[in-house]
Structures are given as structure tokens and as C-alpha cells.
């Protein structure tokens, strides 16, 4: 347990770093000195944290619901495609051609323009062995990077924090939304979550109330942290499956501390930093707008997480997918424009994923049912641009239960991002060594 971060040092860390400005109002000077001593101790051990102030940043963008990859990166010249999709198949004239065989969905002009300047990589046919067609299970597999027959509790981003950012600032991970995604579940849970920066604070009817709130949420930290060997802490447990070790109130106390210290900083940045691009008025647009502000404001975050829902297109897919992909491409394009204007684009990488693609054949309701492999997009100035991997065959004899077969394991993409972008060894995070796909 030599590298254990105690609650005490965690609290100290919060005061010292990003959120350090809060030191003045939380503790009298003589206590601050004590904390400084503690900090000096901690500096020798585990608290050597990468911060995002100048390091690379990853933005994970979840396309929830299972995006139909075949109508996203469209094999418009393929006869099997048109046979399988007589009503929802897109014609050559409707797509943004990337070459003679495939093109992007017509709504994705923003992505096409990034592609044309060498800042978009399209990884084709991404999936995993023995694909699962349940939204929840397959999302869990992508979030935890587990094999499909093995249930993992912690998320791959959480394990990255555990391995590479030990003792780090809680703001090392930021989710825009109200729920923490399972990808963030960790032995030592980290990451802040918020929706609206204006409401992200304790509202008090006076200074005495605020002072008391801080004390009530700071002092009561005497409960020992759950021992790692006792079956784990609460945050590592999967959704809805509360703890086997440790008490719920310990987890909440830690969250309370993180909330208290991060809220001032986030609001200050939101008020100070201006966006320099026009975003769509969508939920995703709003989330990326906020992420751009936080990056511009210098939050020490390594990983941001945003999501867009609605891709479960069992019926009348054409209209809804048009709207969703248009929103996706326009929002991401605005985000890159914003970051370029800030001068930060060089250190930000956006990676999209969806829990699965959809069946090759359309269904009777003008939609598609749950399938398997699908493309991923990676966006950034330093990406290996163009089409990566191979487009999966749509020939009936090559399909497995009506689905295309994957030819890139998504964990190879994670490995590439971890090793080449976040500069850390991927094997301890992904459980074993996957051949890193060169995406940057």
C-alpha cells in the first residue's frame, strides 16, 4: 500500500492544484502549513500527476444507441449493399465520396471538410470477437474494454486514471452530463460531472451557511477508505450493483469534496472564456462548446467525455440518422474551429464510438436492427488521416448471422490512443497487449 493516497492527501491535493485558490477560504494559515508539509511528503511518492495544462487531451464522444455504420460510411458502389437495403440504401449522388467505393453520409459535410485537410481518420470495421447485440452489454464491453464473455467492473478510462494519474486532481476527467459513464469507474474513482455551469455550485443564503456547508462536507472524512484488498471500493462497482466493501457514505463524502472544490473553478472558466465558433443548438453542440471553454481555461483535464443519443433506429431511420449525423459533424467541426482559434487544436484528439453497428439488411419498418462492427472516427491535427482498416465484406457468405465481421478490434484503437497520444503503456489498462493501431 505504499502508494496509497489517503483522504488527507487527496484533500490536500485539491487545495494545492487547480482548485488551489480555495485554500484561502477553507483553512486557517496554520493548517495550511500543515498541509504543505503533507504535500511535500506526498510529492515524493505517488503524486506525480500529469496535468492537462500542456499535455495531450482526449475527447471521447459516445454515439449512443448503436449507430448504423453502413449508412454512415457508405459503400455506395456495392451491389450487396443496395440489395440488402432497397429502401434506405443511399445512392452515389447522396454521399460525400471519399474514393470510388465509399463515402460519408451526405449530412456529414463537417467531417468531409476535416477529411479533406487530413484531420479525420475513418477506422473501418471496428468491433470485437463474439459480438453482443444488447445495448447494455455491448456498451459495457466498449466502456470496460473487456472480452465479450467477461464482465469487468472498472472502465478503461478509470483504469487509465488508476495507472497513469494516481493521486491526480479529480478534474483529470470531466463528463458533460448528469451521469458518470462506466468507462470512468475506477478503483479510486475520479472525474467531475456537470451539466450547466451556472447551477454547479452550493447556493447559500448567507456567508455563515456557506461556511457551515463547507465544514459539514469537509470534516466528516474520518471513515477509512475501503481497503483495496477487501473486495474493492464503491466506485469500481458496476451501475446499480452497490458495494461489497466500503460504505455508500464514504463514496458520497469523496464526491462532495470533489464537487466543492471543482465548482468554483468551472464557473470561473465558463464566465471568463469565450467560444470562437458557432455551434449547433443541440445537446452535443452545447457539450462540446463547454469542453472548448474548459480547455481554453486551462483545466488540467486529460479526458473529456460527451455523448449524443438517439441512434437506435429500428424504424424510419433515414430522417433521424440524417439529423443525428448532421448534428455530430457540425458540432465536431465547430469544436475544431474553436480549438484552432484558441491555438489548442494541436493537443486535442476526438474519438467517437458506438456500442454496435446495425444489421446489413434493413427491416420491415424502414430501419435497421442491432448489429455488430462499425466505423470509428478519430479527429485531430496529428491523426493518421484517411481510411484505416478494411471495409468489411457485405457478401452474404461473409456475414455472421446477418452482420459484417470486424477486422479491427476496438481495443487496438484504444491501445493506439493510449500509447501514441496519452503516452502510457496500454497493457496494464487493457488487460493484455493489443497491437496498437497507429491513429496518430
Amino acid at each position: 500500500m505504499k502508494n496509497e493516497i489517503t483522504l488527507q492527501t487527496r484533500r490536500e491535493f485539491l487545495r494545492r492544484t487547480v482548485l488551489g485558490s480555495s485554500l484561502a477560504w477553507t483553512v486557517p494559515a496554520f493548517l495550511a502549513n500543515t498541509f504543505s508539509a503533507l504535500q511535500a511528503e506526498a510529492a515524493d511518492s505517488a503524486i506525480q500527476t500529469a496535468t492537462g495544462r500542456d499535455a495531450n487531451i482526449l475527447v471521447v464522444l459516445q454515439m449512443a444507441g448503436g449507430n448504423d455504420g453502413i449508412n454512415t460510411v457508405v459503400p455506395f458502389a456495392n451491389d450487396f449493399y443496395h440489395k440488402a437495403r432497397p429502401t434506405i440504401g443511399l445512392k452515389a449522388a447522396e454521399v460525400l465520396k471519399l474514393n470510388d467505393a465509399v463515402g460519408l453520409h451526405g449530412a456529414m459535410k463537417g467531417f468531409k471538410s476535416l477529411y479533406d485537410v487530413g484531420q479525420l481518420s475513418v477506422i473501418q470495421g471496428v468491433g470485437y470477437p463474439n459480438p453482443n447485440r444488447s445495448h447494455f452489454r455491448s456498451t459495457e464491453i466498449w466502456q470496460t474494454a473487456s472480452d465479450s464473455d467477461r464482465v469487468e467492473k472498472n472502465g478503461w478510462i478509470g483504469r487509465y486514471f488508476d495507472n497513469a494519474c494516481s493521486g491526480g486532481d479529480p478534474a483529470v476527467g470531466v463528463t458533460i452530463g448528469s451521469q458518470l459513464p462506466q468507462a470512468f469507474f475506477a478503483t479510486k474513482p475520479k472525474g467531475i460531472v456537470f451539466n450547466n455551469p451556472q447551477n454547479y455550485r452550493f447556493m447559500a443564503n448567507g456567508a455563515a451557511t456557506e461556511e457551515s456547508y463547507k465544514k459539514l462536507n469537509e470534516l466528516e472524512m474520518s471513515a477509512p477508505q475501503p481497503d483495496d484488498n477487501s473486495g474493492g471500493s464503491i466506485g469500481m462497482l458496476p451501475a446499480g450493483m452497490p458495494m461489497t466493501g466500503g460504505r455508500a457514505v464514504d463514496f458520497i463524502s469523496r464526491t462532495a469534496l470533489d464537487a466543492q472544490h471543482s465548482s468554483d473553478e468551472v464557473r470561473a472558466i465558463a464566465a471568463r472564456v469565450q467560444n470562437r465558433a458557432e455551434y449547433p443548438a443541440s445537446q452535443l453542440g452545447g457539450s462540446l462548446k463547454m469542453v472548448a471553454k474548459l480547455i481554453g481555461g486551462g483545466l488540467p483535464t486529460r479526458i473529456y467525455y460527451v455523448s449524443q443519443g438517439g441512434y437506435d433506429t429500428h424504424t424510419n431511420q433515414l430522417g433521424s440518422q440524417q439529423r443525428l449525423l448532421g448534428d455530430l459533424a457540425d458540432s465536431v467541426k465547430a469544436f475544431t474551429d474553436d480549438l484552432k482559434a484558441q491555438g489548442n487544436m494541436g493537443r486535442v484528439l476526438v474519438m467517437t464510438f458506438s456500442e454496435f453497428g446495425r444489421r446489413v439488411s434493413e427491416n420491415a419498418n424502414g430501419g435497421t436492427d442491432h448489429g455488430a462492427a462499425a466505423p470509428m472516427f478519430v479527429i485531430g491535427e496529428k491523426v493518421k488521416a484517411g481510411l484505416l482498416g478494411q471495409y468489411p465484406s457485405l457478401a452474404p457468405q461473409d456475414l455472421y448471422q446477418g452482420d459484417v465481421k470486424y477486422n479491427v478490434d476496438f481495443r487496438s484503437v484504444y491501445a493506439g490512443v493510449l500509447e501514441n497520444w496519452l503516452k502510457t503503456k496500454s497493457a496494464p489498462i487493457l488487460g493484455r497487449q493489443f497491437a496498437p493501431l497507429t491513429v496518430v
Partner: protein
Amino acid sequence: MLTPLSSKSWDYAKAAHLLNRAGFGGPPAEIEKLADLGPERAVAHLLDYEKISDPTPNPDWAKPNPEEIRKFREAIRNGTPEEKKQAQREEQQTIQRRMLELRGWWLQRMVRGTRPFQEKMVLFWHGHFATSMEKVRNPYYMWRQNELFRRLATGSWEQLLIDAGKDPAMLIWLDQAQSKKDHPNENFAREVMELFALGEGHYTEHDIGEAARALTGWSLDFQTQNFVYRPLIHDNGDKTIFGQIGNFDGDDFIKLIVAHPQAPKFITAKIWNFFAGQVPSPELNEQLAAVFRANGNNFKPFLRELFRSEIFYSEGIIRNQVKSPVQWLVGSVRMLECELPPTLVSWGMLRQLGQDLFAPPNVKGWDGGVTWITTNTLLTRYNDAQALVEGTLPALSAGDFAKKGTVGGGGERAMKALQRIRMGGVKVEKILTPEQRADKATIVAALEHRLFQTRLSSDQEQTLREFLDAKTKMSDADIATTVRLMMSTPEYQVT
């Protein structure tokens, strides 16, 4: 058979635990009443709710109304573009108005209803068969499903599964209404096994396909707004499900599920998790399943044993469950003996806190447990406590009421309506006697007894006393703020 709790160890804290979990908590007087009854009669008092009359009237629109639907369809089909738009706008507003009413109707049942345990079970089944308004788009169907859960809350598992499957909201939610023999839709077939009754790993992809064939013919008659069996679209061929071969139909398939060895384990584990707040150990799960099966897969006798068991009152279980947003809101109102905020406010709060009734995030329902708590939702709970106790409007914005492209909508209208709302706040004379109020130490102790049924740490008690020290008068407002501060602690978020 689970070891029952001995009557000797029954006390205020255990009675509170029962009321918190099997209901939504309550004021000290209610807890004391249960404490006086002893464990067996206290459990019976909550569980045998059939003996208590339920006077809540139904919303006046809660009945089939095919004429309304016919008129709307007529306007959409034959109207001018202007009439079409008008009809759509009106329909949208009617849906929003009724859904709001429905939310208030259910929340009031939880807060003031005579059968808190029955409502707790309805909440469990709503989260279990998680069906969303966002797709069903029909308040009558949503109400009807809610009533189904109430009617069959503690009855037979087989009957509940069959009736829930044939329920109009479910037929729409999981696409069963659209499934035909030449294109069977697998959605309900998959989810009923994966999420409702067996869990992953206890069926094959092949079982799903075969079950989908068995279920063909289950459909929805939009004229009568009722379930209908359509023999012409039913697949009459043999199906192989769980290795058994036969010309199964939907009812047969459900019976096969309930007879599956995994079935009692799955549902009892989920119920244990809901009430005890933890995943049962494999040994405990075996015991729970045995009790359930021995009682013919009926819930009531199983639940009686659960709430009577010693293990339900063990240390790792009491005050170790994160309150769901509904538990937080309804429980707070009950413990503080105040009014539920107007539905628009209550609904906005629940949405912000992550539990939008009638609109769960997906068919898996709310993840629950520690996932209720993020830095964001925790601060929102602290702030909503201020609204509840001090009677201020909570910080809600149009976005809290509107989701793009959904029927959550009406954000701007909601914001206007919000401006006219007056909140009640807590009446101090209801929660403190004049004697308790005389001294800051007794104030803190009485409020702890009411809000936590245990004590806070000495540091926290000290902080609260110091807060009151600085207030020379200890006015109602000062005491309300003290309550709010107590609710703004990690300890208040668990039950």
C-alpha cells in the same frame, strides 16, 4: 427459510429502516407506531395493504378514448397544412399536460397515499419494466401500465410477466405491436429474457429468434386501445426454446421462462438489491430463490419473509443505501411533514437528479446505487434541499424541462408557469416542540432523530451548534437553514 429477526432487538432504528425501505420513510410518530407493533405486525401493517382503502381518484382522462385518436388522425390525414400543424401542437400540449398531471398523481400517492409499500413496489416495477413516455407518447397507456403494476404489485410472477407483455405501453415500447411472422421483431423477446426475467447468459441468440416467432400475434388494437391477438400474423410452426420443442405461443414462452431454473434467482436478486441495497451473496440468493419458489413464485409471502429476516436488519445494510431521487424527494417531504412542491417543480427536481418518472433512460431502467451520485447531482440535491425547506424556487432552466425532439418539451412554457409558483417550505412548529426548540443542543438532537434516525459525527454536530450560536434569535428561518444544512451532507443522501 430465512432466519427471522427476534422481537427483542426491534427498536426505533429498525422500525425506521423498515419504513424507509418498504415505504418512503416518515415522521417520528409514524416510526414510533411501527416500533410499538413489533416486527411481525409492523411488517404486516405495511404489506397487507389490501385491508386499507385507497381513496385516490384516477385522472379523468385515464380511460380509452378512441374518438380522440380518430379525430387527430383525421386532421393529420385530411387537414390543410395549417390544421395539421394545429392538431399536432394541440396533441403535444395535451400529452405534456396529462403527463405532468400523471407525475403529480403518482408522487402524491407516494407522499400521502394510504399504501406506501404498494407504491414502493410500483416504483420497483416501473424501474424493472422500464418503459418510457418518450416512445409510447400516450399518457393513458402510461397510467394504465402504472395501474397494472399496482394491481399485480405483489402477486404471481407469471401473471405479471404475461400481463406486462400484453400491456399497450410495453407493446409499443419494445416493438411487439409491429412484429409479424415474416419479419418477427426480436426486441421484446430479447429484453424479457435479458432484463426482465433471466439475465444474460441463460439463453442463446437462437432462443431469442425462436421466442420472437412464438410471440408473433401479440399486438395492439389502436381502435379499442387494447391488446389483441392476431392469429393471421402468428407463426404456427414448431419452435425450440431452452431445448424444448413445440408450437409455442407468447403465453407458452412466458411460462417456459418462469419455469427456468434461473428465473427465481434473477428476480429475487433484483428485489433484494432494490430493498436491501446490495447484490445478495450466491448463498443468500439461493435461499431467496428457494423461498420464492416454495411460495409458487408469488411475491407477497416472499417479501414478508424478506422484511422479517434478520439479515435485512444487519449492520451492513442499515443506512447503507444511496437514496434514489424519488426516495430523496418523497422521503424528505414525509419526514419534514411539508407539502410536496407543485408538480412542475417536483418533476424538474427529479429530472435534474436523474430520475424522470415515466421516462427512464433506457429499457434497463435506472442504474441506481452509487450512480445516483455525481459531483453534479450531489450539489443539486443540496440546492433542492434549500428550495424544499426554505421555500425558495430551485434553480431550474428551460433545458431541464425540454429535451430536443422529445415530448419532454415545453421548456419555455414551463419556465413561465414556474414564475407563478409559490413554494411552501417547512413549518418549524410541525417539526419541533416548544421544549425541543428551547436549546440549540436539543434542536440538533431532535432534527437528527427525525432526519437520520441516528446521530451525526461530533464534528458535524459541533458545526451545526456553532451555526445556531451565531444566531441570537434562532428564528424559524434559522432553523429552516439548519435543516437545509443537515440535508446538505453526505449522510443525508443514504438511508
